[in-house]
């Protein structure tokens, strides 16, 4: 397959080297893929895409887009020549230009400006909003304009920075699907940055996990979920319980103690009888959370454990358990 | 919407071009003279115009304080366009001479008009007008018989009765320099301290404000230059007129060295490109015509002995001048300032 983006040993620090925002990152993205960059705030994900877009210059390493080296220690190509599209977190529509003018903006060198603008507006379903200004549009509409604007010049790579963080939960799912349907339709290669793993799992072909500027894992969504390489990665995708010595003893689990293991909360079975590892527990406290509830348990050997369940739990005592196939193992 | 802006901009550019052209043209005509002057009086402007008419020489004027002009001439060096430097005190002319900015001029017309104590001993500069620094007193509260000299002002009878402007003023510095020259440094410092003691308020305002303060009753005595009284008595402002009429002029030290005078004067720049014109201008400014203008419209004492004082000045009577060599004022100027500071004269 064709690599659209290739990044080798990339580093970038700020404050004269004190803060390492990106630390020796290597990866590539194949043509047509949608790639998510996931990390907490401060993990360096925004710096990474700014480096790709050419808005920052690297301290080390290089970036290759469509086979051409665009950033290295010796030279950098300016952003306007990289043929990269970008949708910013706050959309960054030009407030003094209307929707049509915003979209035509990136088409200065093309002859078929109007037609191309019509095409992308059609694509995002905003053909009737040409004359509007940014402040006359809803958040979702602004985002679609920003997307249309970025797609208009037919970039070889589309970057989206936290595309859904400004939207409320209801709109979010709907818009996520809309946006990525559009992206799929155009077949453009896309990288998007998010702190929300649900977004990543829902639409990405591949997910990159960044922690403190380092790339800790890059994999397909399902592999990442099932075979996380660290407890950090595992916990990004939902509540995870680390199996320490006490817990292993409680469940009479024969795993070696010097290796790190964890179990996802959703793989812990309540009222279990047919699990491989089972123990009894006292309910110390229950917190009602609507569709589910959180239980603070005291296991029979005195260990504490907190689990979330949507099953109805009666009485103060219960059996819980899990199976060996669900145990996550790391090298740490 | 943007059009008016562009039109304005265009107009301005045209305007500035026009000015440049103009200056280029004028610089190519030979007969001109560049005057660096600290005298910003209308009388001077009128005299320059009259000189232009009479001689056909164009007068270009740069108005600024003498110190700034001297600094400018130093920086410009040999290429300085300045032909003459005019100041309002002898001290600054002396300083310009010290800095080698002036050249000696020997000219029989000038020599025939000016007595020797009104010019530099090496003919580097010449006085244009004289002004006396006198005591004015409130007519209704002060008996002039109680007044005698500058030195007498520190007497305790005048405690809280005197107003005078700040020590940063050149006229005060020159007065102080004359006191140092006459009485010595130590006595001068004691005098300044005594003055500070007797002041009715901290020094502020200009000479006219001192007169108004005396008229308003804030103090009984003030030290001011004569021509300001003359101007106040001819003021368009009724308040100034009233104030000036409530005070009278006293010429101090008539029994000894005489009243302190200072001069405004002129010197030819060392690298003057138009020396001939410069000398012509000096001759003109010392002529009876010009001296009459100085005397009548600016109430200064003329240096040309053939010219009479303005009627107001005549009404105050004649007085004995301190004939201290005026170069002394320049030499002692810095010392005067230091003593002022030490005495706490603000």
């Amino acid at each position: 397959m064709n690599k659209i983006l290739e990044i080798n040993n990339l580093s970038k620090s700020f404050d004269g080297g004190k803060t390492k925002a990106i630390d020796q990152v290597d990866f590539f993205v194949n043509q047509g893929d949608i790639c998510a960059v996931v990390g907490e705030s401060g993990s360096g994900k925004t710096t990474l895409i700014r480096l790709i877009a050419g808005l920052e210059n690297p301290d080390q390493g290089n970036i290759i887009i469509s086979g051409k080296e665009v950033s290295s220690i010796k030279k950098v190509m300016v952003p306007e020549k990289r043929n990269v599209g970008m949708v910013f977190q706050e959309y960054a529509l030009f407030p003094h230009l209307n929707v049509l003018e915003n979209i035509i903006y990136g088409l200065a060198k093309r002859k078929d400006k109007k037609q191309r603008a019509e095409v992308v507006l059609e694509l995002v379903g905003l053909s009737t909003y040409k004359e509007r200004y940014a402040h006359e549009l809803s958040g979702g509409q602004q985002q679609r304009v920003a997307l249309a604007r970025a797609l208009a010049p037919e970039p070889s790579l589309l970057i989206l920075d936290e595309p859904f963080s400004n939207l409320d939960a209801m709109m979010r799912n709907q818009l996520r699907n809309e946006v990525f349907n559009i992206i799929k339709k155009t077949g453009v290669t896309a990288i998007f940055v998010t702190h929300d793993t649900q977004d990543a799992l829902a639409v990405a072909d591949e997910i990159l996990i960044l922690q403190n500027g380092k790339l800790v894992q890059k994999d397909e969504a399902s592999r990442l979920y099932h075979k996380p390489q660290s407890i950090y990665v595992a916990s990004l995708f939902g509540n995870t319980v680390q199996l320490n010595k006490g817990l292993k003893n409680a469940f009479r689990c024969p795993l070696k103690e010097d290796c790190c293991h964890a179990i996802r909360n959703e793989n812990i079975t309540i009222n279990a009888s047919d699990c491989e590892y089972v123990t009894t527990a006292q309910i110390v406290k229950r917190t009602f959370l609507g569709t589910h509830s959180q239980l603070l348990l005291k296991l029979d050997n005195g260990e504490n454990l907190s689990v979330v369940t949507n099953e109805a739990v009666l009485g103060d005592e219960l059996k819980i358990g899990f199976n060996s196939k669900d145990i996550l193992a790391f090298d740490e | 919407m943007k059009n008016p802006l562009y039109i304005l901009l265009l107009a301005v550019v045209l305007f500035s071009c026009k000015n440049d052209n103009k200056s280029n043209e004028e610089k190519t005509t030979s007969e001109e003279i560049n005057v660096y002057t600290h005298r910003h009086y209308e009388s001077d402007q009128a005299l320059f115009e009259a000189f232009e008419k009479k001689s056909g020489i164009k007068v270009n004027v740069i108005n600024a304080s003498a110190d700034e002009l001297i600094q400018k001439m130093v920086l410009e060096g040999e290429q300085s366009p300045a032909d003459v430097l005019i100041t309002v005190d002898a001290g600054r002319l002396h300083r310009a001479k010290e800095k080698d900015l002036l050249q000696p001029i020997s000219n029989s017309v000038i020599d025939s008009i000016l007595p020797s104590h009104l010019k530099d001993e090496d003919n580097h500069w010449f006085a244009l007008t004289k002004r006396a620094r006198v005591i004015v007193y409130a007519k209704d509260r002060v008996d002039p018989l109680e007044l005698s000299s500058y030195e007498n002002l520190v007497d305790e009878q005048w405690e809280n009765k005197i107003v005078v402007r700040s020590s940063s003023n050149i006229y005060n510095q020159s007065l102080m320099a004359s006191i140092i020259a006459n009485d010595g440094e130590e006595a001068a410092k004691m005098w300044a301290k005594g003055m500070v003691n007797n002041m009715a308020r901290t020094p502020k305002g200009n000479d006219r404000d001192q007169v108004k303060a005396v008229a308003g009753g804030e103090a009984d005595l003030a030290i001011v230059n004569t021509y300001y009284i003359g101007k106040m008595l001819n003021s368009e402002d009724q308040t100034e007129l009233d104030a000036a009429e409530k005070v009278a002029v006293f010429f101090p030290n008539q029994d000894d060295r005489g009243t302190h005078i200072n001069v405004s004067g002129i010197g030819v720049a060392k690298h003057a490109p138009n020396k001939e014109s410069a000398v012509q201008l000096i001759e003109y400014l010392l002529s009876e015509d010009a001296q009459n203008t100085f005397a009548s419209s600016n109430y200064e004492y003329p240096v040309n002995p053939n010219v009479e004082n303005a009627p107001i000045l005549q009404s105050w009577g004649s007085f004995k001048e301190d004939t201290l060599n005026l170069s002394k004022l320049g030499e002692l100027n810095k010392k005067a300032v230091i003593l002022f500071d030490e005495a706490g004269w603000k």
């Binding site: 300016v78 952003p79 020549k81 706050e90 003094h96 | 000015n19 108005n63 700040s166 100027n333 603000k346």
Partner: protein, 551 residues
């Protein structure tokens, strides 16, 4: 050992490559412009190493302590007063509807147009024997009334009343652009108007207020005429005293350099604060929903009164006094040449404002476009000229330009000075001096444009320059207009620098006013001063119209 050595060499090579990579034409242009602007400042700063003259011990014993105390005292008082007048009027004007609001909105800028020494004279005259005040008091049977304003408090009042528009302009720009939306959000959360203002808006507006305040303080430290007349000795008095009375230019320049350090410290503190308050540069929000609160008639009336106070104090009272004097001297002073003078002053101020805004924009944006942090920080040094007294700037400009001029003559390129004694030196010096005045409003309005907007433009294929023309220029236009007006007005009333550097054939209204005032003919200075105000009104009204049209 050897490995460590290799690593050092490698990292050195890396830095070299990166430097070579990051130097772009903008870095070079920034440095070039910065050099142009900084040469006069540097010329003066270098003198710091020569040390002061022999009078230094005299000055530091007898003068400096009290001068410094007075200056700091003045700076403090003026800060308080200008914030009081400037922020309150800016807030009321943006937030409330009241009678005469539109007129007052720009009248509040006009006090800047009267040179502060003229305001000082006007107030002294107004409150002196026989002045308007004493005539007024006679109605109450008090004769020979005089209110003594000639002291440090009076000076602080006079300076504040003529300088508060700096704070007004910068805080109004902030209020107009952001505050109202934020406030409405806060109101929706149930916080009262007053509390929202104190707890939310004021802290957010701090960078904008401080930006205006820095200009006020620099101007206060720089004032000579008013302080001199009121008999209050300030740091600048010290500079002039050591230069002129003690005949030691080196000491004067040394003192200016010290003042420079002081002001530089102030600027650093301001930057540091601004960095701490990152949230202040929130993204641009739309201003079109800005609806002013309509209060009951009586309260509207009260607000009008409150806003009129600074206008009356800073504009109407001084102008009234000037008009009285003008009436008395009109026969002697009024003639056609004044119109010609006005035209020249207008032209010079216009050209100066144009170039100053131009250079300020260059410094602001070129330094952004260059990728070297050091150059970015250095660009901020360009604004230091404002801290130096005009007369000292003039010297700073003359030393290097005369060097060039003389070189031109010896090399045969010219037969006479081509920089000095022409408009070039004058405008150059003005630009050096007023760059900060233009830089502050431009910087704060550019901060309001979120970085992602120009970034978007670049990613969409426009270079830095095209992005500036198409995106940033229209978005910061309001800031550019304020910058232009402020520099225009400042140039109109500038004095010491003009006196030293102006060409023979050019004269300005300020010079004319000064010629009268320095000869203690304050009354005669009234008419030229009024002409200054009229000339200043032209761009204010004109540009305000432009602004309103776009609103």
């Amino acid at each position: 050992m050897k490995q460590a050595g290799n690593r050092n060499i490698n990292s050195f090579l890396d830095s070299f490559f990166k430097l070579k990579r990051d130097i772009n034409r903008w870095s070079i242009a920034t440095l070039f412009i910065l050099l142009l602007i900084a040469v006069p400042v540097l010329t003066i700063s270098v003198k710091l190493f020569d040390g002061p003259g022999e009078s230094w011990s005299h000055i530091s014993t007898y003068l400096l302590p009290s001068y410094l105390e007075n200056s700091l005292y003045l700076a403090l008082l003026c800060s308080l007063l200008t914030i009081l007048f400037g922020v309150s009027s800016a807030w009321l004007v943006t937030r409330y509807h009241f009678p005469l609001r539109k007129v007052l909105e720009w009248l509040l800028i006009i006090p800047l147009a009267i040179p502060s020494y003229i305001v000082a004279y006007a107030y002294a005259g107004f409150l002196d024997y026989g002045g308007v005040y004493s005539i007024f008091m006679e109605v109450f049977g008090v004769t020979q009334a005089k209110f003594d304003i000639m002291n440090v408090f009076g000076l602080a009042f006079v300076l504040s009343i003529s300088l508060f528009p700096y704070v007004y302009v910068s805080s109004r720009a902030f209020f107009l652009n952001q505050a109202v939306n934020l406030l409405e959000a806060s109101r929706l959360l149930g916080v009262s108007e007053r509390k929202s203002f104190v707890k939310l808006i004021l802290p957010l507006a701090r960078p904008a207020i401080v930006a205006g305040l820095v200009l006020v303080i620099m101007e206060v430290l720089n004032d000579y005429g008013a302080a001199q007349y009121f008999g209050v000795n300030t740091f600048t008095t010290g500079i002039f005293r050591s230069w002129f009375s003690l005949e030691e230019p080196e000491t004067a320049i040394y003192l200016s350099a010290l003042l420079l350090i002081l002001v530089f410290g102030l600027i650093l503190i301001e930057k540091w604060q601004r960095r701490k308050i990152q949230y202040s540069s929130v993204k641009s929000t739309n201003t079109k929903t800005n609806k002013r609160i309509v209060l009951p008639k009586f309260q509207q009336f009260i607000i009008s009164l409150v806003v009129i106070i600074p206008v009356v104090l800073g504009f109407f009272i001084p102008v009234l006094q000037l008009l009285i004097w003008a009436y008395k001297t009109v026969d002697k002073v009024m003639n056609q040449s004044l119109f010609w003078l006005s035209l020249q002053s207008f032209g010079i101020a216009f050209v100066t404002a144009f170039f100053t805004v131009f250079f300020a924009l260059i410094l602001l944006y070129f330094s952004k476009w260059n990728k070297i942090t050091l150059v970015q920080n250095a660009a901020k040094l360009g604004v230091l000229g404002y801290a130096i007294p005009g007369a000292v700037v003039a010297i700073g400009v003359m030393i290097p330009t005369l060097f060039l001029d003389k070189w031109f003559i010896t090399e045969g390129f010219a037969t006479q000075f081509v920089i000095n004694g022409t408009l070039i030196a004058l405008v150059y010096a003005y630009v050096v001096r007023f760059l900060a005045v233009a830089y502050q409003p431009l910087e704060s309005s550019s901060l309001k444009v979120s970085d992602s907007i120009p970034d978007s433009s670049k990613i969409l294929g426009m270079g830095n320059f095209k992005t500036f023309i198409k995106i940033e220029f229209p978005l910061i236009r309001a800031g550019m207009l304020s910058a232009f007006i402020l520099v225009f007005i400042d140039t109109l009333k500038e004095l010491p620098l003009t006196l030293i550097l102006k060409p023979y054939h050019i004269n300005t209204l300020a010079v004319k006013a000064y010629e009268f005032a320095s000869d203690e003919m304050v009354m005669h200075a009234a008419i030229p001063s009024l002409f200054i105000i009229l000339t200043a009104l032209i761009p204010v009204v004109f540009l305000n119209k432009l602004l309103l049209k776009n609103e």
